[in-house]
């Protein structure tokens, strides 16, 4: 471990450092490589989402969309069928259970008060 290269970590961490020492560290090709590798390492640590590992999620949004679309379609078709069936039932009057016939002529006259 080159102790002069610790200044590269200081720089990356936003800590105080001597620009002269950083300049010397970066004048060395190994120091420049180190800076680039540390930046790549930071990128990898910050951007990797562990849940993605082994479970690429590419199909999940599409599956969810298709399921939602299918549920909406079933609801629409079912609702239409039900409404259509009920409107057909309403267009014909129900059959009577029993028939009451009244002979208006034979009703007794109402007596005057």
């Amino acid at each position: 471990m080159n102790p002069n290269h610790e200044v590269i970590s200081d720089f990356l961490d936003g800590e105080a450092f001597e620009p002269r020492v950083l300049g010397e560290a970066l004048a060395d090709p190994a120091g420049r490589d180190l800076l680039i590798d540390f930046v790549v390492l930071r990128y990898a640590a910050q951007t990797d989402d562990p849940v993605m590992v082994g479970h690429p999620p590419a199909r999940r949004p599409l599956n969810r969309f298709l399921l939602t679309a299918a549920a909406v379609l079933v609801a629409l078709v079912g609702g239409y069928q039900l409404g259509h069936q009920q409107s057909e039932e309403r267009s014909t009057p129900p059959a009577p259970n029993r028939v009451v016939s009244v002979d208006w002529q034979s009703l007794p006259e109402e007596s005057p008060k």
Binding site: S9, E15, L34, D37, V39, R42, Q46, P50, V53, G54
Partner: protein, 177 residues
């Protein structure tokens, strides 16, 4: 005992940074979410110290560190995900790095791993890390540099592959909060 409002306020402020650290320490996002909730429960059961913010962050992340260590102790008996579990055809440079980094982090000591994650994933300052890990800021500086060098050595191939790609780190001067 902390009031629920105080705990929620503190939690809202640090939630994302806690989640990032705990997900990475646990190796999976779902476990990270559960552990973040566990931190919230522990915080709500204790008194929040009246400290400057850098010490408060250190205090909170010390609790998070204990939660993560408890989880890892329980989990170390279970097998880890390895490269073979990544479906064929999806192993690009980013996924290779994801798997390799997870494995490389597991080879670090708990302390070096947490120093690295607190800095790179949660964006804690060296002082905050020192409070969280019971170290001096100088010790944090040395450990952080050493952890980076060790990871760099273990991840030479995926780092080289990523050097050929476009990358967009969140920041080089200070990790985001």
């Amino acid at each position: 005992m902390t009031s629920v409002a105080d705990a929620e306020s503190l939690f809202a402020q640090y939630h994302d940074r806690l989640l990032r650290y705990l997900s990475r320490a646990a190796g999976e996002r779902e476990a990270g979410r559960d552990l973040t909730q566990e931190v919230f429960l522990r915080v709500s059961r204790t008194a929040i110290p009246a400290s400057p913010e850098n010490q408060l962050a250190g205090w909170l992340f010390r609790i998070a560190r204990n939660v993560a260590l408890d989880h890892l102790r329980q989990r170390r008996r279970r097998p880890e995900t390895d490269l073979a579990s990544v479906p064929e055809g999806t192993k690009d440079a980013h996924q290779e790095m994801a798997v390799a980094l997870k494995q490389a982090l597991a080879t670090l000591s708990d302390l070096d791993r947490d120093v690295f994650l607190f800095r790179e994933v949660s964006g804690l300052s060296r002082e905050e890390i020192a409070t969280a890990c019971d170290l001096t800021p100088d010790a944090v500086r040395s450990r952080l540099h050493r952890a980076r060098l060790e990871l760099r050595g273990r991840l030479a191939a995926p780092i080289e592959a990523l050097r050929q790609q476009h990358i967009r780190p969140r920041g080089t001067a200070r990790a985001p909060r």
